[in-house]
């Protein structure tokens, strides 16, 4: 077994367990726990007048019913606003159980605890809640019109408004630069609501130990450490008395970074109150109406450019639909407004967003987190400019790209982490060249023409993006070698299927020189690691990966010091390979790492043969020095943290060929090509898996998925029958190529890869359909019915004024 594992496409170590049904997900735990179920609002906006629980009391097996009136202390307070921002002048969060007003269908009103979930739902059905309906606000336009308010103390339904401006090199503002530009366009672009929709919903299982006055909570979360702090604070417990464990988590994609959810507070609270184990497992309908959505935004773009297509000024205003509450602040629209620029330098830039409340499920980050919308704006703009000038779409992009010599490149904006948006490294012209080659850009026109002769419509689209990954503030890694030579690696952030068991082990194996079989990785368990932030923003490999590498390096130094003592050698002459420390060039002089671990911990008591070697009469060495040298600690273990100064910027370019059916208006993706740069690759196979999953979600967002509310605020497709998540049958084979521009910001030179696949897909598919149809695509997702109606409209327009090209943008 070689120990040179960094960069190798080894199979995922977690898969044999997960694919043979041996995963341990939230609902696999707590088989004897009481079950919780919730009474949730059927109204989008209503005053809760009274709650009559009498009918539920007849249900055999009922244990307790709670409403807001029962919640004492901090449990009854509004949920935290996790990320405050000065521009979020009217941030609002809900109560764990509705206090007086419900603001979306699905908001929890009462909690039922019973001996099983069937009975809990029977009891919940019998609780009669009296509502006085209030006028609902549904849709971005209605929110902006503000005829009715979601929160009566939030005028105009506006939670936040934020402007960022970067003047051009000539000092001109964006509006002035656009005014003076040789060419100008303006248009509206919209993206509809979708959702993370992990296959496993949320879930919480809590055990209260009355003797120890301690709480153990399992949660299907993306941040066990922060859930722990939140529960400790809400339940007024010392943090040391609360442990939170994320077991196997069946996908997160952002929705599980939000915390504490009402259920994450209420279930532990009830477990303590009742002195019984309590579990709540979210069902699919609850997930649709009671967790979080994303993506819904309407953008108004003005752009000025020269004859080459160089952007001289870009002015974007957009409206963000925030749903009923803002627990995660305004991270999503901030990311849209900053990442919109992608790999391009635009002359002058102005962006302004207003974040609006509506009586719908709250909006928090979903994989991509505002970037798909930003990239849609920028890339649709590039295509518009190209069509207007009659230039090849890739030439217009090339004219605007940041060049390899420009790094570090400061976009002049403030990013989601409050730090300057400075790109650390990349080679964007090479990405564009590679994706053109991969998809066969230059030869496509011929294929398109030939297909047209046979009555087939093919279209080609392309989009580029830059993704800020690996945001701080920090993560840590702990590494310990035990006296059997096993290496235990732990980090505080959680896993939702990314392959952390594999990549973190690859890092440790490469850094320590030990076989990967000896390495065990633990994530998301506060019993093992207490300080962490969480898994989001494509940050696990960057943050925890580097922290683990640093911890391994420190541990390796220590191991070499101890081994040098034992071998009477200079530490600089030692190397570790296959778990054995040896003197370079002298294979006979060696000591296994497990023995070094024994020696690292001077003992008084021998508990086995190995330990006997470290006892006081067995070890040699000087007797006038302390057994543990000054500045050292016993044990071959250590913790290190990695805290980046700012994000590192991954990038990529996607291209796709689609075919549209001339009769049925169905869209089929024939080919999908991805060129991706996430710095040094730890495991290409895992990066490709992330890309495949991301592209699949992106195709879902482009062609299938939308959350449809009626004017009353009822979600009309709250099931997998009507919310059209694509199957494998809808996803083409995905072709990938990698470019590696190492990040100078971290020791491993890595950048994040988790979200990349999803980011540009709507822009790519829209461009390809536009190319196939000659019809402007301004809103995504697009269904066959949408395309049918666009064709009908274009046909009517062509009939009215035969001069105007249907696909042409409107000059201003």
């Amino acid at each position: 077994m070689t120990t040179k594992l960094f960069g190798e496409p080894i199979p995922r170590r977690e898969d044999p367990r997960l694919v043979t049904g041996r995963g341990r997900f939230l609902d696999d735990l707590g088989g004897r726990a009481l079950a919780a179920a919730f009474v949730r609002s059927p109204h989008a906006h209503a005053r809760v007048v009274d709650i009559d629980v009498a009918g539920a009391l007849d249900v055999e097996g009922l244990v307790a019913v709670y409403t807001w009136d029962d919640l004492g202390g901090r449990v009854g307070e509004p949920l935290p606003l996790l990320i405050p921002h000065p521009a979020l002048t009217h941030g609002r969060t809900g109560y764990p159980l509705a206090r007086d007003v419900v603001r979306h269908v699905g908001e929890p009103v009462a909690m039922v605890v019973a001996t099983d979930r069937y009975l809990a739902e029977d009891a919940a059905d019998r609780i009669l809640v009296g509502y006085e309906p209030l006028p609902p606000v549904v849709g971005i336009e209605a929110a902006a019109a503000a005829d009715h308010l979601v929160h009566e103390d939030v005028p105009g339904n506006a939670g936040a408004r934020l402007v960022q401006e970067v003047p051009g090199p000539d000092g001109l503002s964006a509006p002035a630069a656009i005014e003076r530009a040789p060419h100008r366009l303006e248009f509206r672009l919209a993206i509809e609501r979708s959702a993370s929709m992990p296959l496993e919903g949320r879930g919480v299982y809590a055990r209260w130990d009355a003797d120890d006055e301690s709480l153990r909570v399992y949660s299907s979360t993306q941040t066990s450490t922060s859930v722990r702090m939140a529960i400790a604070a809400k339940l007024d417990l010392p943090p040391a008395k609360v442990e939170v464990i994320a077991p196997d988590v069946g996908g997160g994609f952002g929705v599980k970074i939000v915390h504490p959810w009402p259920e994450e507070i209420l279930v532990p609270w009830a477990a303590r109150l009742l002195g019984r184990e309590v579990k709540w497992t979210e069902d699919r309908r609850e997930h649709f109406t009671s967790s979080a959505h994303e993506r819904g935004q309407v953008h108004f773009v003005r752009v000025g450019f020269d004859d080459e297509g160089r952007i001289l000024g870009l002015d974007v205003r957009f409206l963000h639909d925030h749903g009923a509450y803002t627990p995660y602040g305004i991270i999503v629209p901030i990311i849209t407004s900053t990442q919109l620029l992608g790999p391009y330098k635009v002359g002058a830039y102005r962006v302004e967003f207003t974040s609006l409340y509506t009586n719908t499920v709250q909006v928090t980050p979903y994989r991509g987190a505002g970037r798909p919308q930003g990239v849609f704006c920028m890339e649709r703009t590039m295509d518009r400019v190209a069509v207007h000038l009659g230039r090849d779409r890739t030439l217009v992009r090339a004219a605007n790209l940041i060049q390899p010599g420009d790094f570090p490149y400061d976009q002049g904006l403030t990013f989601q982490d409050g730090r300057p948006l400075i790109y650390d490294s990349g080679d964007y012209p090479e990405l564009l060249r590679m994706v053109k080659e991969l998809i066969g850009w230059d030869d496509f026109g011929k294929a398109q023409t030939e297909a047209a002769v046979r009555g087939r419509r093919l279209g080609l689209g392309l989009a580029c993006y830059v993704e800020g990954t690996g945001v701080g503030p920090y993560e840590g890694g702990h590494v310990e070698v035990d006296s059997s030579g096993r290496v235990h690696v732990s980090t505080g952030l959680t896993s939702q299927g990314q392959g952390h068991q594999t990549v973190f082990a690859q890092i440790a194996a490469a850094e320590l020189g030990v076989p990967i079989e000896d390495i065990r990785v633990t994530t998301g368990d506060t019993r093992r690691f207490r300080y962490a932030v969480g898994t989001f923003a494509s940050r696990a490999a960057v943050l925890s990966g580097n922290a683990i590498a640093l911890a391994c390096r420190a541990l390796r130094d220590k191991a070499l010091r101890i081994a040098a003592d034992a071998l009477e050698a200079d530490p600089r002459d030692l190397e570790i390979e296959d778990g054995i420390v040896r003197i370079r060039g002298n294979p006979a002089a060696s000591i296994p790492l497990r023995t070094v671990a024994v020696l690292s911990n001077p003992l008084r008591y021998a508990f086995d043969e190995e330990a006997a070697r470290a006892t006081q009469f067995a070890v040699g060495g000087s007797t006038d020095q302390p057994p543990v040298a000054e500045g050292e600690q016993p044990g071959l273990e250590g913790t290190q943290y990695y805290s980046p100064v700012r994000s590192t910027f991954a990038a990529g370019a996607h291209a796709a060929i689609v075919e549209t059916d001339p009769d049925t208006a169905e869209v089929r993706v024939l080919r999908y090509a991805v060129v991706h740069d996430c710095g040094r690759l730890i495991n290409p196979r895992i990066v490709e898996g992330q890309i495949h999953g991301g592209v699949a979600q992106g195709i879902g967002g482009a062609l299938y998925e939308r959350l449809i509310y009626d004017e009353h605020g009822q979600l009309l497709n709250a099931s997998f029958m009507d919310f059209l998540m694509p199957y494998a049958t809808e996803i083409p084979a995905i072709e990938t190529a990698h470019l590696e521009t190492p990040s100078p910001l971290n020791p491993l030179g890595v950048k994040g890869a988790g979200e990349a696949g999803v980011i540009p897909v709507s822009a790519v598919i829209a461009a390809a359909i536009e190319d196939a149809e000659g019809i402007r695509i301004e809103e995504m997702p697009i269904s066959p019915d949408d395309l049918f109606r666009l064709r009908e409209r274009a046909r009517r327009a062509a009939g009215e004024s035969s001069g105007a090209e249907a696909g042409e943008a409107r000059p201003v």
Binding site: Y118, D122, R285, T664, M721, L724, P784, D785, F788
Partner: protein, 294 residues
């Protein structure tokens, strides 16, 4: 998403099942493949007092094929019928439509007669039964057996013409006549979804290989399967000189589908035109190929 309380009966013979249905009448719901009923129960959209599970009645798990047609028992799974080559020879339309129902794992549980008794206006099998002029055989403890023609069986959306106490015990799909061909096509959002619109076509030729009869059945456009005879529109011509698009236009004008969250009425009507032309052409080609093969 757990069902409300219900009583459960699992008879082992048809007589026991009919006795249970007679006892509980309208309070009872029959469970066969459960691919529609179980989700309805879990979402608490259906709350029958009693579930009569017929899965243990082996005598209903039958597929009989003879020259007159295909007779399918209430417990025959869709997957079994789909794979029955003798049934495909006698009436190919059944298998052509079955392949559009969801996914193999669902067809392994789902039953043909259960789909008919569920009477979903977007489902494939009711349209097949209707366009072929088949029937559903029902039985009850009191009234013995009777056959209900497809045209009467589908009384409304999710409303089969079953009286309380009656069990659909089988369905009869008539054999394809000589010099005849069938085709089925639908447009669905995802592979395996209910169709936004779909058309089943049957075309028969006369001795001179001219169109003698042409019928289509449409799904997704009305509360019940919509059957249309297009023989006169096509005008007894050889397939090569038929004006298929005129027939498609005729079908389009005849349907008035409603909009739902997946598609508007105009688009559905447009699809009926597209699919009518495609299926009529394919059915006529199959009819002629059959003659040539013979």
């Amino acid at each position: 998403m757990k069902p409300p309380p219900f009583a459960y009966r699992a008879p082992r013979t048809l007589d026991e099942a009919l006795a249970a249905l007679a006892e509980y009448g309208a309070d009872a719901k029959v469970l066969a493949g459960g691919q529609s009923l179980i989700p309805l129960l879990n979402m608490r959209l259906a709350a029958p007092a009693v579930i009569v599970d017929i899965n243990r009645i082996g005598a209903l798990d039958t597929v009989f094929v003879d020259a007159t047609g295909v007779r399918i028992g209430a417990l025959a799974r869709q997957r079994r019928v789909e794979r029955a080559t003798d049934a495909a020879r006698v009436q190919p339309l059944i298998g052509q439509a079955l392949r559009h129902i969801a996914h193999p794992v669902i067809r392994v549980r789902g039953t043909v007669v259960g789909s008919l008794a569920h009477a979903d206006p977007a489902a494939e099998l009711p349209v097949v039964l209707a366009v072929l002029g088949g029937s559903v055989e029902v039985a009850s403890a009191a009234g013995g057996r009777r056959a209900i023609p497809a045209a009467e069986f589908f009384a409304g959306a999710l409303e089969p013409a079953l009286r309380p106490g009656e069990l659909a015990v089988g369905a009869f799909f008539p054999a394809l006549g000589p010099r005849a061909g069938t085709a089925f096509a639908e447009t669905a959002r995802r592979h395996g979804d209910y169709g936004l619109a779909g058309v089943a076509a049957v075309v028969a030729l006369d001795d001179d290989l001219r169109v003698a009869a042409a019928r289509i059945g449409c799904l997704g456009v009305a509360a019940t399967p919509f059957v249309l005879d297009l023989t006169d529109v096509l005008g007894h011509r050889p397939p090569d000189s038929c004006d298929w698009s005129a027939a498609a236009e005729h079908a389009k004008r005849a349907v008035r589908p409603e909009a739902d969250i997946h598609a508007g009425g105009d688009y559905r009507r447009h699809l009926i035109g597209v699919l009518t032309e495609r299926t009529l052409r394919a059915a006529a080609a199959a009819a002629r190929d059959g003659v040539i093969d013979d």
